[in-house]
Symmetry: C2
Subunit: 324 residues, 2 copies
């Protein structure tokens, strides 16, 4: 009986698979393992107490697919089409015209700010909880055009493993995304294990008031915060109030987040995912409308950032499709 | 050996003191204990999963003393006096004039927004880390005029016990204060056990840029957010993204936070601290410049909020002074 208990207790450890099984052996995997060991080993000169083990992750293109365009844009487009009959002017004005016509280049030019404009126009007047329901419903049914899978299955398996690995080592994992905070929060806990209070993102303004006597948070047609580029360190400071020791991004929009993280004292780890795998996912960098990676790629070596090659460093890209 | 182990394991429980020892038996203490039991008992129809056990606390006048004026104002006044020689115009303009002359009535009129103006004027241009150092240094040495103790010892012992009690029952405790987030964060973890990422407060705008080549968050002379009144539910949504199930305040500035919390589905607990103890602390409500409690007191019964009487419900007010 005792021996059985003993065996049962230890069995999971004895047969434990590599927690980063989807990462091929190589510099990137080695850098992650070595960094985590160094900051978590109590006798290490670079030891970091648990409370300070803050790891920040971009979302679009870092944790899930951002091509052929941002997932949130697909969501906005569907809302736009539903609402166009009430707004005939949208057929002439940018960025609405580009969105309705599927003009990716013009949409790319409009950037994250254009995306926020579309978001505002299609979502003003809704309450926070109405919006959360609409976003949750959409994400549960929408499918990616190329992979024909729900977007929440087009998250990167190696990143899911990395998030879990960091949390097992006492890290607190955060999303710091240019995407809308209210669009992400309904599903990040289920998909990434990241709860709503650890999601930092762009925000439209909220108004608290009684609607038909009911306390309500109403979403206003006004941008409150854009969590992109230099906004990322600001968003980190506002929400977390601690400087991260690990940052993972994939585009120039993550440059300042990586820079702010890396320039802190003690050991730091900055990582950039390079999409160089057209076969399994996409290959893009300097000329892409979504997730342009140019200056950060040039400066990676000088800044000490590890460039992760999707093709070389990842054994798997997406999780296996669920069995029916 | 086994019996000894058994005894050692259970001893702490057997002799455990009342975790709310500084609360006198009465309706308030009973309401807290009953609420926590109800939402944490797995078989209860009102059971709330751990992740949703969000408890929010006002700071000034709820967790620590706010009379004869907000502690942060004492901090601002000292900074103002230090900087006045460089700003002769402050002797004529409000709210600077009132602050320098110690005109409490005029300062009270200026309210939280006036406080933010003073804060901006005295702290613009500093980096986030410089400001954190200055705030930490000040709080370590400043003394309250009446009690002649550091402000961080003028926190309420019953509230420290309540925070710990809630955390022991799986709650996540947050500060949601009209005070400046950057003023609170350097000491809330040590004093309340509330880490920086669980502090919601008023904020001035931040600018991320390189200063002498060093990545820096610079505090701008511009209010980014006022976390007071209707701003409190907004701040809660921004930072936490979940609706609290328990809210504790002491003034009309907490009305909307209490209202938003209480109106949610399922069991909720709203509490208001009534300062009615001039002997041990202060007695004030409807006519006070700081922490005015008027409408919330009138509506407490209708809204189902528990009014905590400092005089009646608290056996102790402050923690015992540390022994030298």
């Amino acid at each position: 009986m005792r021996i059985l208990t003993f065996l049962l207790l230890w069995l999971p450890l004895a047969v434990a698979a590599d927690p980063l099984a989807s990462w091929n052996d190589g510099e990137a995997k080695q850098a992650i393992i070595e960094f985590v060991a160094t900051v978590t080993e109590p006798d290490s000169p670079d030891f970091v107490p648990k409370a300070e083990r803050v790891a920040v992750f971009d979302n679009d293109g870092t944790l899930w697919v951002e091509q052929p365009f941002y997932t949130q844009l697909a969501f906005v487009l569907e809302r736009l089409r539903e609402l166009t009959d009430d707004h005939p002017d949208w057929r002439k004005e940018q960025p609405f015209k580009a969105a309705l016509e599927g003009d990716k280049a013009a949409l790319g030019e409009a950037g994250m700010e254009g995306l926020m404009q579309l978001l505002m126009a299609t979502h003003a007047g809704l309450s926070s909880s109405e919006f959360a329901d609409i976003a949750a419903d959409w994400i549960a049914t929408a499918r990616h055009s190329r992979f024909e899978r729900p977007y929440t299955e087009l998250v990167y398996q190696p990143m899911l493993e990395l998030l879990a690995y960091l949390r097992e080592h006492g890290f607190k994992t955060y999303i710091v995304s240019g995407g809308g905070i209210a669009f992400m929060r309904p599903w990040t806990e289920r998909v990434y294990g990241i709860p709503p209070e650890q999601v930092v993102g762009s925000q439209i303004a909220l108004d608290y008031k009684l609607v038909d006597g009911e306390p309500t948070l109403v979403r206003k047609p006004e941008i409150a915060f854009i969590d992109d580029k230099a906004g990322k360190p600001v968003g980190i400071q506002r929400h977390i109030g601690r400087r991260p020791i690990l940052a993972f991004g994939n585009s120039d929009g993550d440059y300042q987040m990586l820079e702010w993280t890396s320039a802190g004292p003690g050991r730091r780890l900055g990582l950039i995912l390079h999409h160089d795998d057209a076969e399994r996912e996409y290959a893009y960098d300097r000329d892409s409308h979504a997730g342009r990676l140019d200056k950060a790629l040039d400066d990676a070596e000088t800044q000490g950032w590890t460039v992760v090659s999707m093709e070389r460093d990842w054994a798997n890209v997406f999780p296996a499709a669920p069995q029916d």
